[in-house]
Homo-oligomer: 408 residues x 2
């Protein structure tokens, strides 16, 4: 896949009408003359805009970058106004479900729920929901992972104005989840099998599960009819990964960080940006980096492991005073050879302070210049972990450091 | 050095009063309720804000990230509204000029001009410029790399209101450039040596050149009294790298992309963000990535070299029809082993099309599954460049691909 980068700034109008109820979370720039701009809300819409603008009809890409939400931050749940997403997308006219299966295979996270917008819309149709209420019904169904069915049903009937009978019929479908056998059963369902959209969606879902079997990952995938996803642009298969607390974790307040990755097929989005409406089918997945990090951090804190923030291989130190020049010469040689070296920025640092600095920051080696060593043409190399010290000839020092740090 | 990341969004007030005349180029966000925000203009001010907020008094960091300028873009000169900078900074109370020398050593670019704000201010003082005109005089001097002295002099006398005599005296100094011998000469200058600021600056400049000699890079450094740099926050040494067209380049329109890196010492900036005004001395350098890329691209175009945009090691292909399942199984094995593999997303692609795809995209290997090979437990591995084909046992395929692609 190619790594592409798109701007953080997009035209305001590019982002409008793509994110459903979340459009209110888009950050807009002040009108300071010139175009009306906004900060990207995700990496998907800019990618589609990029494909249309450059008339690209075939591309596999990944992109790690920041996105922006004018939201209330909640640090402990990994929810920020500015955060990183990592996206992987495949654009182009291909045989069905092969790229879709690749997206699910490539994201090596715990488990995925999958569904298809066509199946959901088919369910709404056969349950007697009028077409103009598909979208509100969809966003209500999406809440089933957080609240019980009773509450979802009340919202459907009360706020969204569905008939109680329709809501009950929907309830029978959207509480189903399973694997290939559920797909087969629904393909035989007397009502659903009569609906063209649902039938297409179920046929593709079956194909997807066949490919996932070949990929050896069906154990991690659940076909879940309550998965709906809020965004406007999905047209086919949709999926979402939820990272759960591991059972053997003894965390005082178990924190659910919710969805850590999600995506789906968006076959209509590129066409919205093409002057002639030419469509480029796409499927992609977004991973929320911070949410995963916030879990990793909690696990690290629990295990009290220490994380090094630098990759310095060696500290250039001196054993006596007045050796600043010699330290500068040596560090310059090491830098020129590509060694990651540091020194204390003092004219005459104490040896003890230099060694303590290595202990504190995790630097594994110390190259010590001293008067006697200079005369002998050697450098004393100290291995911080074992306190072992060896004299190394100056011309072999770079190689010695390389060998010793590749062992760490 | 530690890699740290700061937000793209900063409080508007954090950025105000730091960038001199360029403050007008700051992108402000719309007031949509909540804090007044702006997009960062550089990586230096956010770093200083970060140090003060987190009470950090000692840090070496690098940061590659986007910055924003509400400017007229000029693509050919590598000038954008949104572009990457790569910054390297050293913060802390240290013995003089050791970190400053490291900044210059670490940036491996063509040549650097260096100067010191204290020397410039000393020059203005001894030439009879009143202190309230130091800043406008400074920004006029900074234009000497683009326009001849006559024009700079007119601006000083006309727009900035300096006396013709003062301008002439300034002219004698700011047209000087050289090395250690110039520093020594100015240290003996009857007027300049009487000015406290200039003397301090020249003393440190001498020390800097001594360290740069130990680093073996004085040949790339020029002490240039016309270098001023526009930003408000510099307090000591300043430097700037200009990438020039190589002499042997035969480009039709030689394009100067101007400054590709710059920086200096900013000892007062952190204190501006600390409630108690505690100072943390800092020195740092910013590299403009796009400007360097735009030169590299022009050189590549001139040399007609091709750049691969993906790192795919192998294409999984099929020799006959009805082998989609076998391709999926094989690619899944390769992905699981960490091999970068691709396949065409077609049920029954033609072999010729698959080979052509490798030619077009530069994929060096093709793993071909065929009916006979499946029976024999082998995969045919084709080396695209030589058209050589070898049968490799399935269990050795991963290793074979690793060996062959490490040779490329």
């Amino acid at each position: 896949a190619a790594a592409i980068d798109t701007p953080v700034l997009e035209l305001r109008e590019t982002l409008m009408g793509k994110y459903g109820e979340d459009t209110k979370l888009i950050y807009e720039l002040q009108d300071q003359g010139g175009e009306l701009l906004a900060l990207r809300y995700d990496l998907t819409v800019p990618f589609a805009r990029y494909l249309a603008m450059n008339k690209i009809t075939n591309m596999k890409r990944y992109h790690v970058a920041k996105v922006y939400r004018r939201d209330n931050p909640a640090m402990t749940r990994g929810r920020y106004r500015e955060f990183y997403q990592c996206d992987f997308d495949i654009a182009g006219h291909f045989d069905p479900m092969i790229p879709d299966a690749e997206c699910l295979k490539k994201v090596r996270l715990g488990g995925f729920c999958v569904n298809d917008r066509r199946i959901l819309n088919g369910v709404f149709a056969v349950c007697g929901v009028p077409e103009n209420k598909f979208v509100p019904a969809c966003s209500t169904v999406d809440k089933l992972d957080k609240v019980p069915w009773d509450e979802v049903r009340s919202e459907m009937v009360g706020e969204k104005g569905l008939s109680p009978e329709a809501a009950d019929r929907i309830g029978e479908y959207v509480q189903l989840h399973g694997g290939l056998e559920l797909i087969e059963r629904l393909l035989q369902d007397p009502k659903l099998s009569q609906n063209k959209l649902a039938k297409e969606g179920l046929g593709d879902m079956k194909l997807l599960f066949e490919y996932l079997t070949l990929f050896g990952i069906t154990g991690k995938i659940s076909f879940d009819l309550s998965l709906a996803r809020g965004l406007d642009y999905y047209t086919g298969v949709i999926f979402e990964a939820v990272l759960l607390q591991q059972e053997n974790e003894h965390v005082e307040e178990p924190v659910s960080v919710g969805s850590v990755a999600g995506g789906g097929r968006y076959d209509g989005l590129v066409g919205m940006f093409d002057p002639k409406g030419r469509k480029v089918p796409c499927v992609g997945v977004s991973i929320g980096i911070e949410r995963i990090f916030s879990i990793l951090e909690q696990r690290l804190e629990a295990s009290e492991e220490k994380v090094r923030t630098t990759e310095t291989q060696v500290l250039v130190a001196s054993a006596q005073k007045k050796l600043l020049e010699e330290r500068l010469k040596l560090i310059s040689e090491l830098w020129d050879a590509g060694i990651k070296a540091e020194m204390l920025y003092k004219k005459n640092p104490k040896l003890l302070n230099q060694l303590q600095y290595c202990e504190d920051t995790g630097i594994p080696l110390v190259a010590i210049v001293g008067e006697q060593e200079l005369k002998d043409g050697v450098v004393k190399l100290r291995i911080v972990a074992t306190r072992e010290e060896v004299n190394v000839r100056r011309e072999s020092l770079v190689e010695e450091i390389r060998i010793r740090t590749s062992q760490c």
